[in-house]
Amino acid sequence: MFDFLPPALILLAGALLIGPTRGVLRTAVVLVFPLLTLVAIWQVPDGVVLSLNFLQYPIEPIEGSAVRRLFATIFALMAFGGGLYAYRQARWYELAAAHAYAAGAIGVSFAGDLISLFLFWELMALFSTVVVWCGGTPGARAAGIRYAIMHLLGGVILKVGIEGVMVHTGSIEVQPMLANNFDTWMILIGILINAAAPPVSAWLSDSYPESSPTGSVFLSAFTTKTAVLALILLFPGEPVLIGIGLFMVMYGIIYALLENNIRRILAFSIVNQVGFMVCAIGIGTQLAINGAAAHAFAHIIYKALLFMSAGAVVYRTGFNKCSEVGGLFRTMPLTAVCGIIGALAISGFPLTSGFTTKTMISQAAANESLVVVYFLLAAASAGVFLHAGIKFPWFVFFQRDSGLRPKDAPWNMAVAMVFFSVLCILFGVAPELLYAYLPYPVDYQAYTPGKVVFYLQLLLFSGLAFFLLLPLMRRTETISLDTDWLWRVALLRAVHWLAAVLARLGAAVKVLGDRIGRRLGTRGRALFGSDTREGEQVHGIFARAWPIGTTALWIAVLLTAYVIFYYLG
C-alpha cells in the first residue's frame, strides 16, 4: 500500500518504543527515530502521495509541498534536538509523549484533507497535555487540565467548521479559503486558538512554564507553529490576520515586560513572534508567506534554544523567577552564551537567523505600502530586543549576584544548545540555505548596508533604553492578570454566587413549602383525619367510623332518589 513509510508514523513508532526499551537502546530510539523521520520527510514528493477512502470521503494523509516539507523538517529536527537535550534528565513517558506530540505536528504538516488534519491536531492536543503534566507539580496538573480544556474546546470549534465545510461544499481538501461564512470562521477560530491568538493567548503562558525544564523545550515548538502552517495552507491573505498578528506582537511584549517568571517571559515572546507570522500570513504576498514560513523555521530553533538555556538554569538552580536568580554567568558560561545567541536571534540581530527571516516580513509590509503595519513591526522588533533580547539574559545571567553558583548545563543539554546555537548563526550568515526551501522562489536580499544600519540603530538604541529604564523594570513578585482571569476567577465567582442564590431560593421554597404543607395538613386532617394513634379521639369527617345503620339509611335514601328520578325521566 505504501511506497514509503509515512513520516508521522515513524516518529509515532519511536514514541511507542521508548517505553519498552531501556538504557542505550532507549537513547538510540529517542535520537534515531527523529532522524529516520527526517529522511522519510525528504522522500515525500510534491502532490498527493497517499489516498484512502473513509466513509465516502477521500482521505489524503500525505500531501507534499515545499512549505509542508519545511515545517515537517523543523519539527523532526526539533524532536531530535529536544530529545538530545532531554534524554538523560526527562522521564521516559515525557520523552514518549514529546515524540508522539511531534508526530502529530508532522502529521498535520502533511495532511492533505481536513479529516486527517483534525486527527493529528487532536493527537497533538492529547500528548502536549501529557507533556505539561510531566511537570509533576500540583500547579502543572491544574495548568494541564486548563490547557486540555482550551485545546479540546478549540478542537470542537475546528471540527464544527470542518463539518460545515464538508456539508456545504462537499470538499474536505486542505486548500486556501477566506473567512467569509460561519464554517470558515469556525475553522479559523479553531486554528487561532492553537496559535495563542487573542482573546485566549493566556493558555500558553499559563501552561508552558509549569512543565518540566525539558518539557517546555518541546512545548515551545509544535502547537503554535502547526497553527501557523495551517493558516498558511488555509488562510493566506486573510486580512483579519494582520490585525490579530499585530495585537499578538504587542501583547507579547507588554506582558513579557511585566513578567517575573523566566520561562513565562519566553512564553509571552512566543505569542509575540507568532504574531509576526500571523501578520505576514494576513499580508499574503509571496514574500510575506515566505517570510512567515522562514520565520517559523528560524523561530523554532532560537526559541527552543532560549527554553533550553532557561531550562538548564531551572534544572540546576531549581528557581523559576528572575528575582531569585542573577549573576549566573560566573558558573554557567556556556548556558549564558547559548542563551545570549538565542536572545540575539529572536531580536533579529544581523548575522543571526532572526534577522534574515523577520526582515522579510517587514519588507513585505513595505512593498504593500502598509505604513502602520511596517512601523508597528519595526517598533515591535525594538520591543523584542527589550523584553527577550536583553531582559532574559540580563536578569538571569547578570544583574545582581544572587550568590548562586550552580554547575553549568549537563553535557547532553550543552551539546543540544551548541547545536541549536550553530543553526541560529548558520541561517543568519548563510540565509540562502533556508531560502532555497521556502514555498515561493526567493528574490530577497537580507543584507543590504542600509538595512543593516537601520536595524542596528533600532536595536542598539533599544538596548540603551533598557539600561536607562531599568529602574522602571524592577522585578516584583507578581503575576499579571490576563483574560483567563475570566474563567479562573470570574466564572468561579459567578458559579459560587449562583450556587448561593439557588441555595437561598431553595431555602425560601422550603419555608413556603412547609407553610403550605402545614396548611394542607390542617385541612387534610380536618377532612381525612390524622393517623389513628392510640388514645386519639379526634377523627376526620371522612375517616370517622360510622354506624352500619347510618350507612344503610343513606343507601336507602340514594336508591329511593334513583327510582324517583328514573320514573320522572
Binding site: L257, L386, L460, F461, S462, A465
Partner: protein, 104 residues
C-alpha cells in the same frame, strides 16, 4: 587575585553551591562596567554615523532620515515600558493570587 581564593571565601563555600563573593568576576567590577558603557556609547554613535556612509532606504520618507532608527527604537521602547508600567498597576497581582484561590 580575587576574593574567591581568600580563605574566608573557601570557608563560606564549604562544599556548598552557594558562595557570596561579589567582586570575583571581571564582568561584575565597576571598572569593567564603566568600560563597557564607554564602548557601548561609541557603538551607538558609530551606528548613527554609519548612516552617512551607507544610505538607509526610506520606504515611507521619514524612515530614511538620519538617525531615524535610533530615535524610533528608543522612543518605541520608552513608550512600551511606560505603557507596561501603567498597565502593571491595574493587572499586577501577588504571586500566589491563583494558588490561594485554588486552595479555597
Amino acid at each position: 587575585m580575587s576574593a574567591s581564593r581568600h580563605d574566608k571565601g573557601r570557608a563560606a563555600n564549604n562544599g556548598n553551591e552557594v558562595l557570596r563573593n561579589k567582586d570575583d568576576a571581571w564582568l561584575a567590577r565597576p571598572s569593567t562596567i564603566r568600560l563597557l558603557w564607554r564602548v557601548f556609547a561609541l557603538v551607538l554613535v558609530a551606528s548613527v554615523v554609519a548612516q552617512l556612509l551607507f544610505k538607509v532606504k526610506g520606504y515611507f520618507g521619514v524612515d530614511g532620515w538620519l538617525g531615524f532608527g535610533a530615535v524610533f527604537g528608543f522612543l518605541a521602547c520608552l513608550l512600551m515600558v511606560l505603557f507596561a508600567k501603567v498597565l502593571g498597576w491595574v493587572l499586577k497581582r501577588d504571586d500566589g493570587y491563583y494558588r490561594k484561590r485554588d486552595d479555597v
